[in-house]
Each structure stands twice: as structure tokens, then as C-alpha cells.
């Protein structure tokens, strides 16, 4: 079996710790963090603009800062790729493939709940209304019209926590050491 020296470990650990993903721009392919991809307005490949907006609104309500950290670009990147390479916690919850169907259905169901409860769509909701909506989704085990709304909430919440706190920069925000052999690059989140 391969002998991992400290040097090779350090090199690969850097690669793995950053969550820098390959995004395609008109000018070429770049290695960007999801936050950088959002800042550069990299076009989404899988999510529709409407679905992305809903996911972003919900994600920002669940964990403020998730938008700037590139939640929707992270999701779009993962949903557009090979599911075997997906970095989503949906894997652990045995969400059926394709994952994009689950996120699209979750966005639609959330929108339907918003319309029914507040008489308006998620895009038009105030911060307080969004908070009420998310609270209704966060009841453990919740199912609405046959859709596992709590599972959707759990996955989206975990995705938001991943991009905000699951990286070296996120650990730094919490004032805890990343505890790898090396200090990874600090490009995450600019």
C-alpha cells in the first residue's frame, strides 16, 4: 500500500480541506470556493433561478451568512455532477437519486407552504415571515403532503452549516483549530 509521507499528506490535505470546486466561466475553468463563484456570478448549471432563489432564502434564514458563503453555488455544483462524487449529507440520509429532484421538490413544497400559510411566495416574505415558515419546517419528523419536509430542512440546514462552518475558515470563526498537519489556504470565502 502507498507510503504516505508527511509531505504528500500535507499536499493532499490542503486540497481536501478547502472546498474549492471547479467552476466553468466564459473565460475558462477556475478553481473557486462556492462563495467566490457566487461573487463572480458564475451561472448555475442545474438549479433553476426560481429554485435557487427559494433555496437561498431558506438557507439564509436557517443560517445567516449561508448566501455569501455560496450555498446555492455549492448545491448547484454538487447536483450537476456525478452523484458518486457528491459532497452532500443527502448521501447519509439515503435520499433517492437524482438529488436535484429532492431539492427541487423541497423548494416547491416550501413555496406551497408559504402560499398556504402567508398568502405570498417565499421571495416576497419578510424576515419574520421566513422565520415562521422555517420554524414550521423544523418540527422533527414532519411530512407535508407526503413530502418529508423535515428531512429537506435537515439537509438544507446541514448544507448551510457545511459552507459556513465546515471549512478551515469556518473553524476560525469558531476560534477552534482545524487540527490538520498544515494550515490550508485562506481563500475560502475571500
Amino acid at each position: 500500500m502507498e507510503n504516505v509521507t508527511r509531505r504528500t499528506f500535507v499536499e493532499t490535505a490542503v486540497k481536501g480541506s478547502v472546498l474549492a470546486l471547479t467552476f466553468t466561466l466564459p473565460t475558462g475553468t477556475l478553481l473557486l470556493t462556492p462563495g467566490e463563484a457566487r461573487a463572480k456570478e458564475v451561472p448555475l448549471r442545474k438549479l433553476s433561478a426560481e429554485t435557487a432563489q427559494i433555496l437561498e432564502k431558506l438557507g439564509e434564514t436557517i443560517l445567516p451568512g449561508a448566501t455569501a458563503a455560496g450555498l446555492t453555488h455549492f448545491l448547484d455544483h454538487q447536483l450537476a455532477g456525478d452523484p458518486n462524487d457528491a459532497l452532500l449529507i443527502a448521501r447519509y440520509f439515503q435520499v433517492a437519486l437524482p438529488y436535484s429532484d429532492f431539492y427541487t421538490a423541497g423548494a416547491k413544497m416550501s413555496e406551497a407552504i408559504a402560499q398556504k400559510s402567508a398568502g405570498k411566495g417565499i421571495a416576497a416574505m419578510s424576515t419574520a415571515e421566513l422565520h415562521t415558515l422555517v420554524k414550521s419546517m423544523s418540527a422533527p419528523g414532519g411530512v407535508v403532503a407526503g413530502f418529508p419536509i423535515f428531512l429537506f430542512y435537515m439537509c438544507l440546514r446541514s448544507d448551510a452549516v457545511d459552507v459556513v462552518y465546515g471549512t478551515p475558515a469556518g473553524f476560525k470563526k469558531l476560534n477552534i483549530p482545524y487540527m490538520q498537519h498544515i494550515m490550508p489556504p485562506e481563500q475560502w470565502n475571500g
Binding site: 500500500m1 502507498e2 504516505v4 508527511r6 504528500t8 499528506f9 493532499t12 490535505a13 486540497k15 481536501g16 480541506s17 472546498l19 434564514t61 436557517i62 443560517l63 445567516p64 451568512g65 452523484p83 458518486n84 462524487d85 457528491a86 459532497l87 452532500l88 449529507i89 448521501r91 447519509y92 440520509f93 439515503q94 435520499v95 433517492a96 437519486l97 422565520h131 422555517v134 420554524k135 423544523s138 418540527a139 422533527p140 430542512y153 435537515m154 440546514r157 446541514s158 452549516v161 457545511d162 462552518y165 465546515g166 471549512t167 469556518g170 473553524f171 469558531l174 476560534n175 477552534i176 483549530p177 482545524y178 487540527m179 490538520q180 498537519h181
Partner: protein, 525 residues
């Protein structure tokens, strides 16, 4: 026309813990060994220190059809690719106790193993020398007889010390947790740096995952490993008395026949049963090795409860091993449950915490969101304590793995899971949840709460026993029906105990592998 490969002595299906032991023992005995793995190849340098990237160590799609009423948490517990589930396991390696092997005889509950603890002890002792275990046997007052650990205990931070106070206040004992993690350099491998990335895979080799110890030895002895090879069936001769090899599919969908003198199935609990059931032929109409009708039966999962709490002192919870720092088995005696449930329990104390992922800080209370979640994360990063209670599940015949009507991309039936947690297991979980909160409060927690019911370690389906009236395999993990067919992994366990399964997986595999080598001329096909 199917492609037929050159025959090997032994084909091992699955590149996880059990497969690694069989591969090393057989290759070092001079046998030609081929290990076929359904998932991808993997090197140690692929193991990134990130809970996010570590998700690639597990399957992406629902690999089984879980029909309930309870889940076995297949995707979280199983592993994908070289190293199998043991590539992301926590390396908590307590031994099973003597009574775990004789529950039916002693208590009239569960099943008996076809051997007693004493017969497995030398294999436990050998494995712990091979891998370099850390611990303090003298402090484990519950531990069955065995050699001392070769290395001193793992790191105990303030996290472990604070939680130990709670146990002491309730007159309970703790001991350094026995771990297959190096507290000091050992056999050319470096010591752990206590970075808490165990379940993301240990790239420095301080944790004894299969790539580090037994597969390294197997490859050195000439064994070959082949990824992206999905074994679909075990093949037998016309009489059905001997296996002749396996059939597998490549990633491009080509069907290949791999002849072998012996086959060892080590594809984890569910897949081993699935392959045997899908291998039905005229000589084995209900599945190869299934004259007992028990292939797929007695599926078990440890009911597990996470206890989380906030303290008023810095817990240093970012450091240490993911599996914990201390162990308590005061609640191991089978009849110690105050509610009358049968079975054992244990506590793994002081698990290193990361902010994200299923066992991370955020997920300990998923109902918190918004600005409160940021506060919770900041609080938890410094003040959260964590431990896990593991409970025994009972072997129930109706809990099973069976072929589903849905098929995989090669046209083979997927495995359907029918599982309901045993009544005893459910009651033990409830006792543990209440007890855990009490311990945290006694340790000074300002708040403490149990997580939702969860399951760890999938066992059963191809259980050991004395004969085909009660089991699929004999005491050496050999099929009762087909003499050159062996099975490894936690699926061989007739009872679950409440200890983590990987150490026993290694020991049982070591026993079987040595039997196969020692009786090669009479067993091979």
C-alpha cells in the same frame, strides 16, 4: 460470451476489515489472492481532513430498499471502496464479553455462538498486537481475560475529565477507551496527533484501517486488489457442493467470470446475504449456502443514543479521537437494566467534535436555526460535551435481508430490509437516554439532552452456529452447505453484544482464515 479470467486460489469479495484479514493470512500462506471491490480504489492520500469530503467514503444512492418500520442506517454505516466501512470507523475496539457468546444457554434469550470467548481470545490477542492497540487493561474492570494492550491509552482532554466527574458522582467507573489508534509510534507507523478526523479517514496511518495494516501485508505478499468490480453471484459446480468462483460486472457493464478454488464473501452484512440469495441455482434453489433458510435472517443494529450538553468550562472538545476518550461498561451485565430490559450497554465518553456533519455540533439540536444557531455553534465549539451510549439489539428471525423487485444497473435484485428494533433494544435505548442526561447533569452540565434514536453497526444475516438448523456458517465461518465458501464480517455474529463490532470482525476473520489455510488441501475446490 462472458469473459473468463485465469483461476486464482482465493477470491475475496469486499475490501473492508474482514477481507483484509483473509487477504493477509492467505497471501502470506502462499495462496494467490484476488480481492474484488464494488467501490472505487483508494489511497491513503485520498483521505482528506474534512467531514464534507469524507462523504465520498460512503455510498451515494440508496443501496438497499429499507421498508421499516425502523431503519438500519445503511448508507451511514457501510463503506464504499477500498477499506470498506472500516476506512471511516472510529476504531473503538472493546472485546465482546464471555456471556455474549452464550446468551441462550445462560439466559434463555437470543442465540449461542458455536464457540466460547476463550476460543476467540487468542485471535483478539494476535489482532491487537498486529494493529497496535492503545488502552489500559487494568483499568477496564469489565474486560474479559486478554493480553495487555501494547500501547498506553489515548489522549484524555478536559472533555474526558469533566464527563468522568459525572460518572464518579453516580458511583460509576470509567477507563481509557480501548482503541486501534496509535498513542505512540508502532511498527513503522506514526502516533496519532489527536486531530479528531478519524471518521474522515486517517491518512497518516495512526488509525488501523484496512489499508494500513492487513491490506498492506497482503499486497506485500502478492495479493491483488481490483476495484469497480461488482460481484453478482457465487458460482457452484453442478452438485452444488463446491463453489467454482464468482461472477462480477465491471464499471462498464461487462460480465466476467472469476474462477477460484475458494471464495470468501466479505462484502459487509447486507451485500453478503444479497449475493448468496441472488446466487440461487438448481442445486441451491433458495440461494447458495441457504439450506437453513437463514441467509438474511437475524439482522441486528445497535440502538445508539448521543448525549450532548453544555458546560461552563472549556471542554477542548475539538481534540482527541472521534470515538472518545473513556469507556464505561458498568451497565454491561445483561440483567442490569432497571426497567427490566435484557441486554448490555456501554458508554463511549468524550467524542471529538467538529462543527458540521451528522455527528457534529450543529446536528445535535437540529431545531435551532437563524441567529440562535450561530450562538449555539459558538457555545458548542467551546463548551459542548459529547458521549454515545451503545445498546444491545436482540437477534429476531423476522428481521431480514431479502431480494427486492427493484434491480441494480446490472439486473440483479437489490436487497430489501425488513427491520424492527427489538423490544429489549428499544427499552435499553430509553434507559440510556435518561441515564446519559443524568450523568451529564452530575458532571455539571448547564443543559443536556439526548439525540434521536440512531443505529450503529449492522450485524447478522449470515450467522455462525453449530449446524444448519440454527445457522448459515459453522464455527470457522465456513458454509454448512459448501465447503470452500467462507463469509466474513459482522454479518456472522449470532448476537450483537453492545460493543463496537470491528475488533470482533477481525478476530473472527482471523480464526476463519487460519482454518482455511490449515485445511487448504481438503477444503479447496
Amino acid at each position: 460470451m462472458d469473459k473468463v479470467m485465469e483461476a486464482v486460489d482465493v477470491v475475496i469479495v469486499g475490501a473492508g476489515a474482514a477481507g483484509s484479514v483473509y487477504a493477509a493470512v492467505l497471501a502470506e500462506a502462499g495462496k494467490s489472492v484476488l480481492v474484488l471491490e464494488r467501490g472505487p480504489a483508494r489511497k491513503l492520500s485520498d483521505l482528506y481532513s474534512s467531514q464534507i469530503w469524507a462523504r465520498r467514503l460512503k455510498w451515494s444512492s440508496p443501496e438497499v430498499v429499507e421498508t421499516g418500520p425502523d431503519t438500519i442506517w445503511f448508507n451511514f454505516n457501510a463503506g464504499r471502496g477500498y477499506g470498506g466501512a472500516a476506512i471511516h470507523h472510529y476504531a473503538v475496539w472493546p472485546r465482546m464479553h464471555a456471556e455474549d457468546f452464550r446468551e441462550k444457554s445462560l439466559y434463555g434469550k437470543g442465540l449461542d455462538w458455536p464457540f466460547e470467548y476463550g476460543e476467540l481470545r487468542p485471535h483478539y490477542d494476535k489482532v491487537q498486537r498486529d494493529v497496535g492497540m492503545s488502552g489500559d487493561a487494568t483499568k477496564e474492570i469489565w474486560r474479559p481475560p486478554g493480553d495487555p494492550y501494547p500501547l498506553p491509552p489515548v489522549l484524555v482532554t478536559n472533555h474526558g475529565k469533566v464527563l468522568a466527574r459525572g460518572f464518579e458522582a453516580l458511583k460509576m467507573h470509567t477507563a481509557p477507551i480501548p482503541m486501534a489508534v496509535l498513542s505512540q509510534p508502532y511498527n513503522g507507523r506514526p502516533a496519532c496527533i489527536w486531530d479528531g478526523w478519524c471518521d474522515a479517514g486517517c491518512p497518516i496511518g495512526a488509525l488501523a484501517n484496512p489499508l494500513v495494516v492487513y491490506f498492506a501485508r497482503a499486497l506485500k505478499a502478492g495479493a491483488r486488489m481490483q476495484s469497480d468490480s461488482a460481484v453478482s453471484r457465487v458460482l457452484t459446480d453442478a452438485t452444488g457442493e463446491k463453489v467454482t468462483g464468482v461472477e462480477y460486472y465491471t464499471s462498464t457493464g461487462d460480465k466476467v467470470i472469476q474462477p477460484a478454488s475458494a471464495v470468501v464473501l466479505c462484502a459487509f452484512t447486507v451485500e453478503n446475504s444479497r449475493i448468496l440469495l441472488n446466487s440461487a441455482n438448481s442445486a441451491h434453489p433458495h440461494g447458495v449456502g441457504n439450506s437453513s433458510g437463514l441467509v438474511g435472517r437475524y439482522l441486528m443494529v445497535h440502538p445508539a443514543v448521543s448525549i450532548s450538553g453544555m458546560f461552563n468550562e472549556d471542554m477542548e472538545n475539538y481534540s482527541g479521537a472521534t470515538g472518545g476518550q473513556l469507556l464505561c461498561q458498568d451497565v454491561y451485565p445483561k440483567k442490569s437494566d432497571p426497567g427490566g430490559a435484557f441486554g448490555s450497554r456501554q458508554w463511549e465518553i468524550g467524542l471529538a467534535l467538529k462543527p458540521n456533519d451528522l455527528l457534529g455540533i450543529a446536528m445535535t439540536n437540529p431545531t435551532i436555526f437563524g441567529a440562535e444557531l450561530h450562538k449555539f455553534m459558538a457555545d458548542g465549539a467551546r463548551f459542548m460535551g459529547s458521549m454515545v451510549g451503545v445498546c444491545e439489539d436482540q437477534p429476531v428471525r423476522d428481521n431480514r435481508i431479502e431480494p427486492d423487485t427493484k434491480q441494480d444497473r446490472f439486473g440483479m435484485p437489490l436487497a430489501r430490509i425488513v427491520y424492527k428494533q427489538s423490544d429489549d433494544g428499544r427499552k435499553l435505548w430509553q434507559t440510556a437516554a435518561a441515564e446519559g442526561v443524568k450523568i451529564f447533569k452530575a458532571a455539571g452540565a448547564r443543559d443536556a439532552w439526548p439525540g434521536p434514536p440512531a443505529g450503529q453497526h449492522i450485524m447478522g444475516g449470515t450467522i455462525l452456529g453449530t449446524d444448519r438448523t440454527n445457522s448459515v456458517l459453522n464455527a470457522t465461518s465456513q458454509s454448512h452447505d459448501v465447503q470452500n465458501l467462507f463469509v466474513g464480517g459482522p454479518g456472522t455474529f449470532p448476537t450483537s453484544s453492545s460493543v463496537n463490532s470491528t475488533f470482533t470482525v477481525h478476530a473472527v476473520a482471523m480464526k476463519g482464515a487460519h482454518h482455511l489455510v490449515g485445511n487448504w488441501s481438503s477444503l479447496k475446490g
